[in-house]
């Protein structure tokens, strides 16, 4: 099998990896580089659990060939928290109880982050559209949509008001 050298930035760090020609981004990031926030839910491109951001665009890592990411900037959920703590989207997901089993959550967050980067003031329809490739089997989507809208409304500095949850208890 032919191998190629791949140069890319992963969560802010430059990387050079030798990859097999047919290797997926999922395999490279999750299985070889231990970026385990990327979840493997179907490997068919139909569930969205492996959503990552490549050069600002949400991509399904399971059906993205790693070789197509040469020179790219890749973001995963590991990059979300900032020096001040959780990313506003993460905080909003907590405040809105938008995670149950948690398996789809990181993929949802990356789809939402890509949306807000391109469209800081999305409508509800925009949010629905942005997460429509991500399957959630637990929540019924409503709290996820509310969380993304709240994070957008709060801007980059903070998330929407918690819906009655007790701050400080994690």
């Amino acid at each position: 099998m032919s191998h190629v050298t791949l140069d890319f930035r992963l969560n802010g760090t430059g990387r050079t990896e030798l990859i097999a020609g047919g290797e997926t981004l999922l395999s490279l990031l999750r299985h070889r580089l231990d970026t385990t926030s990327i979840k493997q839910g179907c490997r068919q491109g139909t569930c969205g659990s492996c959503t990552v951001i490549v050069d600002g665009e949400p991509r399904l890592a399971c059906i993205t060939l790693a070789a197509t990411c040469d020179g790219c900037t890749i973001e995963t959920a590991e990059s979300l928290p900032g020096p001040g703590g959780l990313h506003p989207l993460q905080q909003a997901f907590m405040d809105h109880f938008a995670a149950q089993c948690g398996f789809c959550t990181t993929g949802m967050l990356m789809a939402a982050k890509a949306l807000l980067a391109a469209n800081p003031s999305p409508t509800r329809e925009d949010v629905v559209d942005a997460i429509s490739g991500n399957i959630c089997r637990c929540t019924g989507y409503q709290p996820i949509i509310e969380a993304v809208l709240a994070a957008a409304g709060a801007g980059p500095s903070g998330a929407g008001q918690p819906g009655g949850s007790r701050p400080g208890v994690v």
Partner: protein, 335 residues
Amino acid sequence: MARRRGRGIASVNYPIGMNLGGDPSQALVHSNPGGKFTVALSSIDLGQGMKSVVRQICAEALGVPVEDVFVDTADSDTGPHCMGSFASRGTHRVGNAVIAAAEEARGVLLEAAAEKLEVDAADLVTDGRGNIHVRGAPSRLITVADASAAAQFEQGRTVSGRGIFLVPMSTPDPETGAMDPVTCYAHACTVAEVEVDDETGEVEVISIEAAYEVGRAMNPRLVEQQLVGGGWMGMSHALWETTEPYYPDRSHGPTDFNQYLMPGPGDICEQRFTILERPAPDGPYGGKGVGEMCSTPPIPAIANAIFDAVGVRIDEMPFTPEKILRALKEQGGAR
């Protein structure tokens, strides 16, 4: 050709737990010398929030803040036996086991505090904020941390407790079916409103409004998570889901999420809920369980709403456009 609205209802009860072969769960609760507690279980959190619910139950039973309790599960070397997370049994069975364990641990904690305060343990109360004091004399106090440290470093006591909750096996009478299927039931009534397109057979769920009687809502946000997500699953079961679209024909089986249909975020409907609490006599603080029942009543409620809208009965799940159109054709149109 028109879109026609209809409403339907369903009312149900739900059995909490199982009885087959006996239904036990166990818990261990112990404190470190700093007065911080760990609950050791082998129960599973599938997303329903089992860890969070029993954490609150343990804090309540111990009389300490919830921040001072963490739940560790599931490791078969450290967590005692539990039947598992199914049958809406987690809150009821594991919750009761945790209460039993927490009460034993609390007993030791109060004994340790009593020895330090030189009073009778029966005269001590907790304030839920990390302190133990003499009833009626809040200034005669010791912190949970100090009592726990004293127990472990001065008195040689283990601030710990064991708990089990068992619903014994009930064998049905072979002739009459007399049995104890469960010890308590939760209840619900759901109203679904739909719009049926009599040209395409498509059904849009406009709203789900429901009342749920849950014994005690251990955490209203977790109850809401179950009801909203379960309502979605019920709607999904009613209108979309099947592994065999032409059952019992085994062909045409879906193998990915493009073929196995479920409502996406653009297909969801408004859901409104009212919560009733009639505590179960044997429930933890009266709690029952809501994890399974919430996905059930939307199914018949939607079937009944479809009839109300266009006058056809679809008695086979799921209620697909194809089935509705065939029924409408046979009936000669919507009525």
